[in-house]
């Protein structure tokens, strides 16, 4: 997850000060990823240093405001358009399974069962979150959750497939 680009996206929408960026980020991700104030200000310093954002001054409460520059907008577009490669094969559980097979680990079935339990918990959590997004009519977040649920469904099918 790129904090840098999410801050650029928030500043593309409107000028904001540091605290507004923190709350804006949390709203964007529905509180799913924590972001501390330190991370926000460190990232803003770097963005300002790289001329991707600039400050037009302070607001009435003397809080430093930030706006996105043209270079910042171009950086944001470039990032949005760049495809994301996924190394699904390098999954931690795949690797565990590989090692367990290599050493003919006796408890392989319980290992698979525990993994499935963990995934089912994730499904429950995401299903509940999905319901909340439906009720608040957050279509984008609903689509993301749907994507995650489809991945989990496929993972569970695979676990059933490898279980003896």
């Amino acid at each position: 997850m790129s904090v840098k680009h999410s801050l650029l996206a928030l500043l593309y929408e409107k000028p904001r000060h540091g605290y507004e960026l923190k709350t804006g980020f949390e709203e964007l991700v529905q509180g799913m990823w924590p972001l501390n104030a330190g991370q926000v200000y460190t990232t803003l310093d770097r963005l300002e240093r790289d001329l991707l954002v600039e400050s037009p001054g302070h607001d009435k409460k003397d809080r430093k405001l930030y706006t996105i520059t043209q270079a910042g907008k171009e950086e944001l577009w470039a990032w949005l358009e760049k495809p994301v490669g996924r190394s699904l094969f390098k999954d931690e559980f795949y690797f565990k399974f590989l090692c367990a097979s290599h050493v003919t680990y006796e408890n392989r079935q319980s290992m698979i069962r525990n993994q499935k339990e963990t995934m089912l918990k994730d499904i429950l959590h995401l299903t509940h979150l999905r319901k909340q997004m439906v009720l608040s009519d957050n279509k984008t977040m609903k689509m993301l959750i749907e994507g995650a649920l489809l991945h989990l469904e496929a993972d569970i099918k695979w676990l059933d497939m490898i279980a003896d």
Binding site: L120, I123, L124, H125, T127, H128, K131, V134, L150
Partner: protein
């Protein structure tokens, strides 16, 4: 509120008596969304049918809002069912010779009442079937048929919605659409929903999950309980 006390149901096959429900005690609060899970043959659907007055118990009582359903005559139960309860079934159970519109208004029609065009329109919009009013069930996909069934179950504004595997015949996307609809109606109308399901994705929508096994309640868990996910995961795994 639904109050079930020591509910038992047996079926006779020849000389053999097969107990399906072996003493169920259960309270469901008004506006609660309850999900019943459990292996096939554990008595889930039987309980749902008894709650809806479609069948009568061998012994035990069911009260709906303080009124004892189990002491009513069949005619009285039919009236209660038509006015207070909505049903959604796995196989939709639409009437094949009636159009979408006619199927939706059927519960009111059966009760000698007229449907408000505004209410029908609102439901058609909610289930995303505007423009399909004159079609027949065989002209619709499974997901569309289930959406008609949900509209039909809600047209008479029941206090209680009983759903038996409502997503059982649908693919994941269609299932999600149906669950979203139930969640929306539950949120907006504060109806009590009791849903039987095998589907993990459906169970996650409920406030409380009841696990049935061998005709009794084996365990139950509320969403706010810490071990909610663990409980379900253990069962579903």
């Amino acid at each position: 509120m639904i109050n079930v006390v020591d509910l038992k149901k047996e079926y006779k096959t020849g000389k053999e008596v097969v107990p399906i429900l072996k003493g169920v005690d259960l309270t469901i609060e008004e506006g609660e969304f309850v999900c019943i899970i459990g292996p096939s043959g554990s008595g889930k659907t039987t309980l749902l049918h008894l709650l809806g007055g479609l069948d009568t118990p061998t012994t035990g009582t069911i009260s709906l809002d303080g009124s004892e359903l189990t002491s009513k005559t069949e005619k009285q139960r039919t009236i209660i069912r038509r006015r207070e309860i909505g049903f959604v079934f796995q196989n939709y159970q639409l009437l094949p010779t009636l159009t979408v519109y006619e199927n939706i208004i059927f519960p009111l029609h059966a009760d000698g009442k007229k449907a408000s065009p505004k209410d029908v329109q609102m439901l058609l919009e909610a289930v995303d079937l505007v423009g399909y009013e004159k079609r027949f069930p065989h002209e619709l996909s499974g997901g569309q048929q289930q959406r008609v069934a949900i509209a039909r179950a809600l047209i008479h504004k029941p206090n209680l919605l009983l759903a038996d595997e409502p997503t059982g015949n649908l693919d994941r996307q269609r299932s999600s659409d149906i669950l979203d609809l139930l969640a929306k109606f539950h949120y907006e109308r504060k109806q009590t929903i009791v849903m039987v399901t095998h589907d993990m994705f459906a169970a996650g929508y409920a406030d409380r999950i009841i696990l049935f096994k061998d005709g009794v309640i084996e365990a139950e868990v509320k969403r706010e309980d810490d071990d909610y996910a663990k409980f379900l995961a253990r069962f579903m795994a």
